[in-house]
Subunit: 297 residues, 2 copies
Amino acid sequence: MNTKVLDAFTQEHKQLLESELRTLVEKLEAPPIIKEAMHYSLEAGGKRIRPLLVFATLAAFGKDSKMGLLAASAIEMIHTYSLIHDDLPSMDNDDLRRGKPTNHKVFGDAIAILAGDALLTYSFEVIGKIPNEMASSQTKLQLVIEMAKAAGCEGMVGGQVADMEGEGKSLTIDELEYIHIHKTGKLLRYSVIAGALLGGANPTQLENLSSFAHHLGLAFQIRDDILDLEGNPEVLGKPVGSDTANEKSTYPQLLSMEGAKEALQKHLDLAKQYLEKTGLNIKLLKEIAELIASRDH
Amino acid sequence: MNTKVLDAFTQEHKQLLESELRTLVEKLEAPPIIKEAMHYSLEAGGKRIRPLLVFATLAAFGKDSKMGLLAASAIEMIHTYSLIHDDLPSMDNDDLRRGKPTNHKVFGDAIAILAGDALLTYSFEVIGKIPNEMASSQTKLQLVIEMAKAAGCEGMVGGQVADMEGEGKSLTIDELEYIHIHKTGKLLRYSVIAGALLGGANPTQLENLSSFAHHLGLAFQIRDDILDLEGNPEVLGKPVGSDTANEKSTYPQLLSMEGAKEALQKHLDLAKQYLEKTGLNIKLLKEIAELIASRDH
C-alpha cells in the first residue's frame, strides 16, 4: 500500500517538522519548565498526519513542500495541545499516550494545562512567522482565522464537548458524525486548506480540496473505530476495546462491522473523486488517503 | 479622583463591550453548554480595564473609540480564559471569583478547561473580524502576533508559571517583577498597543505608549499588593491578607509598605511622563492611570 515515494516523503518531512518544532520552542524566552513540558509532548511522536497533509497539498500544487513548515508546525502544536488537555484527569484521565506517561503525569496538572495553553497560543504566532515572500499578510490572516475556526468551539473544542456529553448515551449516526467531523475532521480539513492557501488554490480547487479532506476525516475516524475492535494491540500501541469499555458510540456499533467497512470505502472513494476534480498532481494525497483508510495503527 | 468624563466614558464603553461579547458568543454554532460556560465568565463583570485602555488609546489618537470594540473583546476573552484556568483545582483552586462561583464550580472542570480553550482560540478569530476599512490585513496580522506574544509563554502564561514556581519561596525584587511584568503586565501593555496600532501610531508613539503601559502595569500590580494588606474586604469583594496566607512574595513585603507606596508613585510618574511624550490627547489615559494607582478594588 505504502509506496517508496510516500515513504521517503514522509521520512524527510517528519524530520524537518520535528526539527522545526524543537527550534520554535527552543527560541522562546520562558521559564525552562514550561518549554520542557511543551517539548515533551511535541516530541512524543505520532503519525504527523496533519503536517503531512500540508506538505502533500503544497506538492500537489507543484510548490516546494517546505513552504508549509511553519503552518504544519502550528497545526501540530494545536493537535498536541488538544491531546495534553484531553488526557487530563478531569477529561479522559489517561496515564499513557503512545506508550509514554502523559504530560500531566510527568509535569503535574497545572503545568500540563499551561503547556497546552502555551502551545495553542504560540501556534497563532507561528503562522505570523511565515515569510512575506511565501504568503501575503492577507493569506496569513486567512490562515489564522481558519485555524481558529477549526480548533475552537465551532470545530475541535465543540467536538470534544459533544463527545464528552455523548458518553454513556446511545447516539444516532448523525450525532456520531457531528462529533467526528468536529473533533478530528475540522483540523484535518484545515491542514489541507492551509496547504491549498499557501499553494495559491483558486476557489474551485479550495472547495474540492475541502470536500476531499472532509471525507478523508470521516474515513480516518471510521478506521479508528474499526482498529479499536480489530486492531493488533501491539502494533496499535494501546489496548483494543477501549471504546466499548468507555461506553463510546462507534461506527461498527451503529452500522455493524460490515456497514462500517462499507462506509469507510464510500468516504475513501468520495475523497479520491474530489481529489481528481482539482486537476492537480494528486499522487501523494491519494496515497495518504489510501494509507489512512488501511492503516494498522 | 474619577472625573465625570472618565465615568461616562467607562459606563458607555463597558456597555458596548458587554453587549459585543454576548453577541460574539451567541453567534457561535457550538454545543449550548460550552457557549453557556463562555458567557458565564465573560458576564461575571470586573473592571474591564484592558478594554478601557484600548478605547482610551484610540481616543488619544482622536479616533472613534468604538473602532477598538473587536480588539477589546478579544483581549477580554483572553483575560477571562486566564481567570477560568487559574481558578481550577489544580491551579489556584478558587471557588469564588468576584463573589460568584468559579466556572468549574458551575460547569465542572472539563467544561471549564474547554471554555477557557474556546475563549483563547476565539480571540484570534475575533481579531480577524475587524472590518478592512478599520485595519489592513497587515495591521490585523500584527495584532494577532502581538496578542499571541502577550498571552503565551513569553507573556502571561510564562508569568503564571513563574508565579506558581515562586510560591513558598522568598523572591528577589527582580523575580517578583518578572512575574508581574509577564502575568499581568504584558496583556495590559498589549491593550494599549492594540489601540495604538488601530489608531495609526508612528514608531515613536508606539514606543512611548509601550513604556507608559509597562509602568502602568507595574503600578497596577503594586496597588494590588497594597490593597491585599490595607484594602477594605467589603469594597474589595474578597478577603485581605490572601497573599500572606498563600505565601506569595509581594512588594510591601520586599520593600516595606512605605517603599511599596514610593515604588507605586514612581511608576505612576514614569507612566505619565511617557504619555506626555506622545503628543497625543492623553487626558483619558492619564485619568485611567491615576485611577489604577489609587483604586480601592
